[in-house]
Structures are given as structure tokens and as C-alpha cells.
Amino acid sequence: MKIDKEILKKIYLTAFKIRKVEEEIADRYKEQEMRCPVHLSIGQELVPAVYSMFVTENDYAVSTHRAHAHYLSKGGSINKMIAEIYGKETGCSKGLGGSMHLIDEEVGFMGSTAIVGGTIPVGTGLGLSIKIKQENKISTVFLGDGSTEEGVFYESLNFAAVKDLPVLYICENNMYSVYSNLEVRQPKNRKIYKLAESIGIKSSHANGYDVEDCYMKLEEAINYVKENKKPFFIELDTYRYREHCGPNYDNHIGYREEQEYKKHLEKDPLNIMKEYLSDESLDIEEKKILEKIDDAFTFAKESQIPKYENIEKYIYKEKN
């Protein structure tokens, strides 16, 4: 393993945090108090966990409907996220957005939205602002394989290439868009990262279940954007364990093979990292994380509900 153990430990713990938050949401979803759609990232934690090693709160990131992991990896507050899913006043979007619309500008998480492809140009525009303001940061766009079918993906990459914008596109390819396999949506044998390259953006590919590969390639990608102030596109293969939206497993409904799921589970990066680290001190850290998560749910449940009278004030921002 080319990764230093201390670093690996951090990666592991970030991935662990993400998974446990998600699992807790899944477990408590049946209580019917989180009354909004949730798209969980269980199975997809490694990429954001590794990503978190290379960026700071100063950098920007935007994401999609499946944003919990990205929000957390960027340093977003667990309390505010859980409160948001509970629709509380203390939520990161004051209850107006729910799971699909997260924001935490304090840590550079500039927003996630639920329209497929919708934030790709937004993250690109953040890159434009960095360039024009000559700031020392990068903008990251998290996107799924499905979103690369939207014209706006293509238009955004074209513009980033024309203008040399400091944007990192991280495409998590989990093979599915809802229940649709890649092959009914994109030409066979076409690699997304190759396509990005031919649009005009340097690109690479990594195995999102292999922590070493993931680490090296993401480091390379991020350094490229930082040093050259040019866009980069990286595609990482990954897999979601649960249903597209909601807390359950859905291997039985017929759009994918149970076998496929099991194959991925066997290579689960969290298990592999934990085994490799075989570090007893991890237990203490894990416990701390679990407590924080528990606290977040308590915080969310006990938080005040938002007042309807206030919602009109969010329609327009007031001039100051």
C-alpha cells in the first residue's frame, strides 16, 4: 500500500462517518419523521472520503440529489444536515430544501440540487469566478454517470475548456441511473472519461473501490487543476448498495442481479481498509463518530420547526 497509514486512517474514518450517517438515516426512515426523498451513498463512500484529503474549506464544491457524502466530505455540519432532513429551522437550508438541496457555504459546499446535471454549469461558473477574481482555489463538480447524458454537461465542459477554468469534475459511475443500466443510455464501449477528453478536458479513470488507485488519481487530478488552473475530469467506478431513493435494498425487484451487489460487497473498501489498518485505536474514534451522529439526530429532533409566516421572505433576498 502506497498510502501512509495515518492518511489511510483519516480516509477510513471519513468513509465510516458517511456510512454510519447514511445507515442511521436508513434505519430511522421508517419512523416517518424524515418526510422527504433521500438518496443514500452507502457503497459510494470511498471517493468522497479520499477527496476530502485534498481540499480545504476554501475550495468550492457542488453536488447532486445524492449529496450527503459530498456535503460531509467537504466538512459540512452533520447536525445541520440531519436537521434539514427532518425539516427543521436549524437545517442547513432552514427546512426549505430537504435532503436534495444541501448547502454549507462556510465550508465551501455551495449547493446540491435535484435536477440531474443541474449543478454542472454552476460549478463551472464558480470556476469562472475563481479565474476572474484570481483566487487560489478550485471548484469541484460531483456528478453521476446519468448526468453526462444531459446537454448541459457537454456545454459546461466545452466552456471550461475554452476558458481554462479551474474546475474538477468528479464523475461517480455507479452504472445506474435510477433503474437504468448504462447500456440503454450510452453507446456500448464508450468510456465517459474518454468522451470528456475529446470534448477538450484532460481526464483520467480510477477504480472507486480501490483506495490506492483512487488516492493516486484524485491527487493527480486535483494537483493538475491547482497547478495548471485548467479543468480536469475524473471518472471513478463505484456502486450503490441500496435502492436509488429510499432506505431499502432493491436487489429483488429485477433491474440488477443480486450477484452484482454481492461482488461489490466483497470488495467493500471500508472493510478492506479496516482490515488492513487493524488498529485498535480505531474503535475509540469510531465510537466518537457514532456519538456525534447520535447527537445530530437528537439535535434534529429537538430543533424548532420553521414558521410558515417566514417563507415568503426567502423568495427574494433583500437588498442591503
Partner: protein, 350 residues
Amino acid sequence: MRELTFSKAINEALETAMRIDDSVIKYGLGVTDPLGVFNTTLDLEEKFGKDRVFDMPTSENAMTGVAVGASIGGLKPVMTHQRLDFFLLAMDQLVNNAAKWNFMFGGNSSVPITIRLIIGRGWGQGPTHAQSLQAWFAHIPGLKVVMPTTPQDAKGLLLESIFDPNPVIFLEHRWLHNMVGDVPEDDDFRVAIGKCEILKSGNDVTIVSMSYMSIEAIHAAEKLTENGISCEIIDLKTVSPVDWETIYESVEKTKRIIVLDTSSEFASIASDIVAKVSTKFFNVLKSAPQIIALPDVHSPTSYHLSGNYYKDAKDIVVEIANMFDKNIDVSDFMTKEHHDIPGDWFKGPF
């Protein structure tokens, strides 16, 4: 007659259309998946094959243009989008091509496509999964815009939409999918586009309504009847072109009107109906016309906010009672455990 859910009625309409006409094709995200777009597309792929029934890339704009092209090539495409909000990506192809095609080519070529859009509500659908944009579509000349309320109309209007030579936007309110109602046995049963229906006759006030709001109107009318106010409920069914005659006749009789809309109010279908009636029946109306629509605010996600945001039978009762200077107690009328679901069948998340 037999009882069917709204979803099943749509599924039947699709099945019938595809069976009686080889040129009908059906595509959209989720059309072939195990859930079959809230059960509306189940079994179609099996019955009619992969050529005519297929999933698609997430490319809403091009796939709308593809429908335009396929239709001028002789097919009758029926598209679906799981939420109206997603279809905002396709406004160019819808408006600049589909809606203008027959006109801009002097009637030489028309675009017989049907686009099913689902209006979301409840369980925290929030700002990007609950828009109700019928006013947009109706504002564009050349589109027909249909909003069925009952399973019967869902089937009859969908069949009529598919075989209409023009582009039709077919709007399904998510809260109607599991509602049950009588549907004629007749396999190829049609309901005319451009005609509204008097769901209930009455003498004192005309309620013009559409889609899910007509259900709330029915409940409200019962309560109002108990209180001596007789409502005539007109279910619009088609919001463009509007069946003005039926509305005008009713207003002529009742001399009062309230219009219910599932969308936000400003520049809505409801405001247009009130405007037309006010212009034409200025000397007839006995009290100010009214509108119940959503506020000019996006749909908030939180359960704790959506209750006040959406309007229901209570609001209608109160507003109509006001027109007659009455006070009707609605404090325990139609109260349900959770305001954000249409019934127990709806378990979220979509």
C-alpha cells in the same frame, strides 16, 4: 363499468393505443423499469416490444425533438417525465418546435405527440419536484393541455390525446394515481379534448377547478350543501383550449364564480378565467370573483411548512362562505393525520 385506479386507467389507455395503432410508441425514463412510472407503463414493453417501448438517456430536450421528428415521420410518440420540473430542460423543443410546427409551416405538417408530465406533491417533494406549470403550457399557442381528474377521464383523454394531430401536454397529479373510479368497459373509450364537465350541478356559485383540486372541491361542496349553499362544480379537464361556453353558461346561472388552481397564482389559468368572466359578465356577477391557488412561492420541503402551503376543501368552504357573508365552522372538517400524503397508500419517497 368497472372500478380502476387512475394509474391503471392510464396503463389501459396506453395498451389500447399501442394495440390499435402500430405507429404509437412510448418512451421516457423509467418506462421499462420494474415500477413502470407509478404502474402506468407496466407490461407495455413485453406486449409491444423493445422497438416501440423504451427507456431513454437523460436528455430531455433532444428526446422531445426526437418525438417531433418521429411524429412528422409518421409515428405517434407518447413520452413521460416523472416530474414536470425535469421537463423544463425541453422548453425549446416543446415551444419553438412542437407548438409552432403546424403554424410556422402553414399547416403543412403537424406534430401528434403526447407528453405525460407528473405534478409532484407531498412527502417533501419541495422546490424542484412539485411544480405545476399548466399556465406556461396554456400560454403557448399550438399546445393542447389536458388535466384529468377521474380515472375515466384519464383513460379517455389520454387516448384522445395520443390520436390528436397536435402536441398535447397531459398532466397527471401524483395524488390522483391511486384514486379509484368507474371506467367504461369499452376498450377504446374516448373523452373529447376541449370540453369541461359539470361534476355537480348547483345554483349558487360556480366552482371551476382542475385535476386534484376538483377532488377537494367535491368535498367542499358537500359541506357547503349542508350549509345551504349549492355549488356547481366544473372540472376543466382541458386547460387549453378552455371550454368557455360551459363556464359562461354556468356563471350566467349562478352569478358567482370561484376558480381553483394547482399552481401558483400570478398569471395562472385561474387568473385568466377570472379575467375573462369579469370582462364578459361584468353586469351579471353578484359578488367578486375569487381564486384559490398556491401562493407565489416555491413549494417548501419541510413537513412543517407544506401544510399551510397547499390549499384544501376547508379553504374552499371558508372562501365560498365569505362570498355569502356566512361563517361555516370547519375546525374538524376533513382532518387527516398527515397533510402531506393523499392517503395511506402513499409511503414516500416520491
